[in-house]
Amino acid sequence: MGQTIIEKIIEQHTQDEVRPGQIVWLELDLRTARDFGGPNVVKNYEREYDDEPVADASRTFFTFDLCTTGCLLRYADNQQICRLFARKQGLKVYDVDWGIGTHVLIEEGLARANTTCVGTDSHMNLLGAVGCFGQGMGDVDITFAFRTGRTWFEVPETVKIRLVGQPEPSASAKDLTLFLLRKLGTKVLAEKAAEFYGPAVEALSLAGRITLCSMITEMAGIIGFIPRANEEARKEMEKFSQEPWLPLQADPDAIYFQEIEIDISGLTPQVALPPSPANVRSLEEVAGKPVHSGFIGSCTNGRFEDLERAARILKGRRIKPGVILKVVPATRHVYEECLQKGIIEIFIRSGAIVLNPGCGGCAEGHAGLTGREEVQVSTGNRNFPGKQGKGEIILASPEVVAASCLTGYLTSPEEII
């Protein structure tokens, strides 16, 4: 019987029978914890396992990305708890100077095609962008994974999604992603894996693939894979992994829970209004709504290409007086590339703030919160009430955030350039 991609990856990591609905013991190639969830893992670990060693120190990591300035005492404390545990156990810490853990795992060649990886990050599944089965888990799961190198997992059904048609040039990977959220909501992919096919999705760069795969979480899905990649994306993945990119492919007779075709012809910029990421409208419908601040970054839109696309709009222009734009590169690697190519200079000259790498504008990240009645246009992935302070969060592409910060209201990039 033919298998889907997730079934094949799981089969390579278990002794148990693999079919949807079956619970298997899954071998985990990488197990990680952040400065969020990490201290809870340490506490659980010491309570349950005392001084027993982790299953494999070379496959176990901490990645600090939530509060990468340590500006809150409680996070500074928690980071130190993790460092001390790591020292005792001989684990590598990707400390606050590295950036977003999931992205660091890709750049360091750790998360690669056909591997399994877990961590205390609900967007761990963005690793699907490189063909890795990444999965966010809570601190109990991760503690167990640290000690045993495995976990139980229910093999999910797979939904096959074919995208037909070509979007407008003004639409980016984020617009495509928000449009899919609009179409799929939180029901269609709930508790499922997804496979994406079609020219528009296969033409995405690595940054674009990450954008789409990161928001499978907001669609309530397990993971998304894009089994084919263009030459440029392939080269970037191979540069990091130092091996040919050969992701497992679904069999022609694989059995899907559902097969869906979505027409994206003429797609234009999209935004998600509060109270949830699936509350998506086309930008046209809401253009002109005043915004007070902007955020460019996050695991969804913090790659070099994302920042460069925003910088293209800001170049030679000034942000509207009174509007604050915060920019947070995903990683140190991204920051360096921005520096080399003059992108940081463009941001600074336009009046933006550029912070050190990390998650930045999500949760209590080091880029700060929003105040009551503040409306922020953000490249993040969530806009639930209270997620980023007391303000209203509107999710958009880097281009739309940049354009809107120039005018002070929701603005299409085409209006600027």
């Binding site: 619970i23 013991w25 409680r74 809570g138 109990v140 939180t186 709930a190 979480t217 009430p385």
Partner: protein, 184 residues
């Protein structure tokens, strides 16, 4: 060992128009302002503290209460605290048409009874299930009975692993139980 039959008072999470709230995310269940807390005994006071209309839930909840929520309960972050806060309050079970995948695992791993039930919306709209009713559920068979209204309905019973974990108490205890057999 935990009880397979859970009996408790029902809390239905409804919006201001009386509809079952869907997509309740982990920031509404346990806000990110309290993520630094690692002591479970301190978490209960923040349960549902950011869900409109339920800010006073911790002071009103009683041991054994059963929460009924809408589809995709526990969306969003992977934070274990969104499960642990209900353990502090000794909540008996959470019922919903579906749960977010990470929340589902976190609850199972911590021994919190989470059960899927496709009939909840119908039961509520027909006034066959209301806040304050006393419910009795069997996690193994999936049988449920509203004792207040003398109505029976069904839940998706726990699967084998979920049941074993629930009986053991949590993933750690379960891991020790199976040590030497399947697990190294």
């Amino acid at each position: 060992m935990k009880k397979e039959i859970i009996k408790g008072r029902v809390w239905i999470l409804l919006d201001d128009q009386g509809r079952l709230i869907e997509d309740i995310d982990t920031d509404q269940i346990y806000h990110n302002a309290y993520l630094h807390i690692t002591d479970i005994s301190q978490m209960g006071q923040y349960a549902l503290g950011n869900l409109k209309g339920y800010e006073d839930f911790p002071s009103r909840a009683k041991e054994g209460d059963i929460i009924v929520a809408g589809r995709n309960f526990g969306a969003g972050s992977s934070r274990q605290q969104a499960v642990d806060c209900f353990l502090t309050l000794k909540i008996g079970a959470i019922l919903a048409p579906s749960f977010s995948p990470i929340y589902w695992r976190n609850a199972i791993n911590s021994g919190l009874a989470v059960l899927r039930c496709p009939w909840l919306v119908k039961l509520i709209s027909s006034h066959n299930l209301e806040t304050g009713d006393i419910l009795e559920i069997n996690v193994q068979s999936g049988e449920a009975r509203n004792l207040t209204r003398q109505i029976n309905f069904s839940l998706e019973p726990m699967n084998a692993v979920q049941l074993a974990l629930y009986r053991a108490g949590n993933l750690f205890a379960y891991g020790r139980e199976i040590a030497g057999s399947k697990q190294k």
